[in-house]
C-alpha cells in the first residue's frame, strides 16, 4: 500500500471504515431466511466506484458451505483499492492511493424454523483497524407467512493517524429488528428498524474545517474538526414487493433516519424487475435520498474555535442525491454445468448524482470571494459484475 503525502481528506473511506463492517454483517445476515440453511455458494464480485475524483475497485468473494443439515459455514474476502483526489483532499492535501482488506468467518445454525447466525469480521488498513462480532436469531411462524429477526452487533475500531504511534478507540453497538410478511399470494411487506450507538473517536483525524481569517491571503484558514464522542441513530424502513399480472415485479421502499447529531434523512426507492424467458432478467431502479445537516456542521465558521464541536464533512451537510440504475442477469439451472446447481452472471450499472446545499467547492471557486464559491456537486458511476455459483 502506498500513501502519497496526504494530511487531510478520505471522507469516503473514513465513513466507509466506520460503517462498512456493520453493513456487511447486516446485509449478509439478512440475506438468510429462517426455516432453511443458506445455499452452498461461491459468490464473486468485481466492484468499481468512479466519481468525485475517486476510484475504488476490487474483488468481493463469499464462500458458503453447509456441514450436515444444521450448520453452514461462510467466509468472505473483500478489497478496496482506493485512488483519491477528491475535493476534500485537493483542498488541503495531495492525491493518495490506499488499500483496505476485510475478511470474515461465520456460522449459521438451523434448529427447525429457527436460524441463528454468528459472524466475526476484521478490517485492516494502514491507519485503521476494525473488528466486529454479530449475532442474530431469525424465526418463521404464522404458517410461514411471517419471518421475524433480531440482531445485535458490537464493533471495536482503532483509529490511527499517519506519523503518530498512538491510536484512538471507537466502539459501536447495533440493535436490529426485522420482519417480512406475506400479504397476499402476489405481495410481500418488509419492515426493519435499527439503532446504532457509537462511542469514542468518531471524526476523521485528517479532515479540517475552514473559518474566516482576514489575515490569510485567501480570506480563510483551516483548523481540525472536533466531533462529539457519542452518536445514536435510528433508521426505520418499510418495503413492499408486488408480483405484477404478467411475470415481473415492482418494489417500493422508504426509509426514515434520525440521529443525535441532528441529521434527518429520507430515502425512497423504486425497482422494476422483468425476466425475459428462463435465462435473462432485466431490471431498472430509481433512488432518491435527502438529508439535513448535523447541528455542528458549517461550511465556513466565523472565526477560529467558533464553537466546541465543528465539522466540515460534506456527508454531514444538507444535500440530496439520486441514483438511476440498470442491470442484466443471465442464469443457467441444474444440469447445464457439471456439479453446479445454478450459475448466474449479473452486471449492474448505477449513475449517481450528488448536489450539496451547504458545501462549497473551494477548489473550483479559488478566485471567488470567500463564502461565495460555487456549491459542490459531482456524479459517479458504480459498476458491479458478479458470478454466483450454487452447488
Amino acid at each position: 500500500m502506498v500513501v502519497i503525502n496526504f494530511r487531510e481528506g478520505m471522507p469516503f473511506f473514513k465513513v466507509f471504515f466506520t460503517l462498512l463492517i456493520t453493513v456487511n454483517l447486516m446485509a449478509q445476515s439478512f440475506n438468510i431466511q429462517a426455516g432453511t440453511l443458506p445455499v452452498d455458494t461461491v459468490d464473486s464480485l468485481y466492484h468499481r466506484y468512479e466519481g468525485g475524483g475517486m476510484t475504488i475497485d476490487g474483488p468481493f468473494i463469499l464462500v458458503r458451505k453447509s456441514v450436515g443439515n444444521q450448520f453452514s459455514l461462510s467466509g468472505h474476502y473483500y478489497v478496496d483499492s482506493v485512488s483519491s483526489a477528491s475535493v476534500d483532499v485537493l483542498a488541503t492535501a495531495s492525491a493518495y492511493t490506499e488499500e483496505r482488506t476485510e475478511v470474515s468467518a461465520g456460522v449459521d445454525y438451523l434448529n427447525e424454523k429457527t436460524l441463528m447466525s454468528f459472524k466475526y469480521t476484521n478490517s485492516e488498513e494502514n491507519d485503521f483497524t476494525a473488528n466486529s462480532a454479530f449475532f442474530s436469531v431469525s424465526q418463521d411462524f404464522f404458517g410461514d407467512l411471517t419471518n421475524l429477526s433480531l440482531g445485535y452487533a458490537r464493533g471495536w475500531d482503532d483509529v490511527g493517524e499517519l506519523g503518530k504511534s498512538e491510536t484512538e478507540d471507537a466502539d459501536r453497538q447495533i440493535y436490529q429488528l426485522g420482519m417480512t410478511q406475506v400479504l397476499t399470494k402476489n405481495s410481500l411487506f418488509g419492515f426493519n428498524v435499527e439503532t446504532i450507538t457509537d462511542e469514542g473517536f468518531l471524526r476523521n483525524p485528517y479532515r479540517q474545517v475552514r473559518y474566516l481569517d482576514t489575515t490569510a491571503s485567501r480570506g480563510y484558514s483551516y483548523q481540525s474538526e472536533n466531533y462529539p464522542e457519542t452518536r445514536t441513530s435510528t433508521a426505520i424502513a418499510m418495503r413492499a414487493l408486488y408480483y405484477l399480472p404478467y411475470r415481473a415485479s415492482i418494489k417500493g421502499e422508504y426509509r426514515y433516519f434520525s440521529d443525535s447529531w441532528g441529521i434527518d434523512a429520507h430515502t425512497y426507492e423504486l425497482l422494476y424487475v422483468h425476466p425475459i424467458g428462463a435465462k435473462w432478467t432485466l431490471e431498472g431502479r430509481y433512488r432518491y435520498y435527502s438529508q439535513t445537516e448535523a447541528d455542528f456542521y458549517q461550511d465556513l465558521f466565523p472565526f477560529l474555535d467558533a464553537q466546541e464541536f465543528k465539522a466540515r464533512d460534506k456527508e454531514l451537510s444538507t444535500y440530496t442525491d439520486s441514483t438511476l440504475g440498470a442491470g442484466v442477469s443471465y442464469e443457467l439451472g441444474q444440469g447445464v454445468i457439471p456439479y453446479i446447481d445454478r450459475f448466474k452472471f449479473t452486471l449492474l450499472v448505477d449513475y449517481l448524482k450528488f448536489e450539496y446545499d451547504n458545501f462549497r467547492d473551494v477548489v473550483a471557486g479559488e478566485n471567488s470571494p470567500v463564502g461565495s464559491e460555487p456549491l459542490y456537486e459531482f456524479d459517479a458511476w458504480v459498476t458491479r459484475a458478479s458470478v454466483t455459483l450454487e452447488y
Binding site: F60, G190, A235, D259, L352, S386
Partner: protein
Amino acid sequence: MKAYLLLTILLASLVGMSGCADLKPWVKPYERSNLADPIMSLGRHGVAGSYVHHVYQAREGARGAEGGAGGGCGCN
C-alpha cells in the same frame, strides 16, 4: 423522536394484531408460486447487493435498516 414514535405505533399495532386469535394464515402453500419466483426476493444480488449498501453508507449520513433480503414464498 419521530423515529421512536413511529416505532412505538408499529409495535403497538403488531401487539394488537396478536390478540386476533381467529387470524389464520390466509395464503395457502399451493398459492405461493408467484412468491417463490426469484424476482420476488428482497435480496436477489448477494454480495453485489451488500456492496451497493457500502457505497451509500460511505456517501450518506444515514445508516441502518437496509434490509435487502427475505421475501420469497414462506414455504420452507
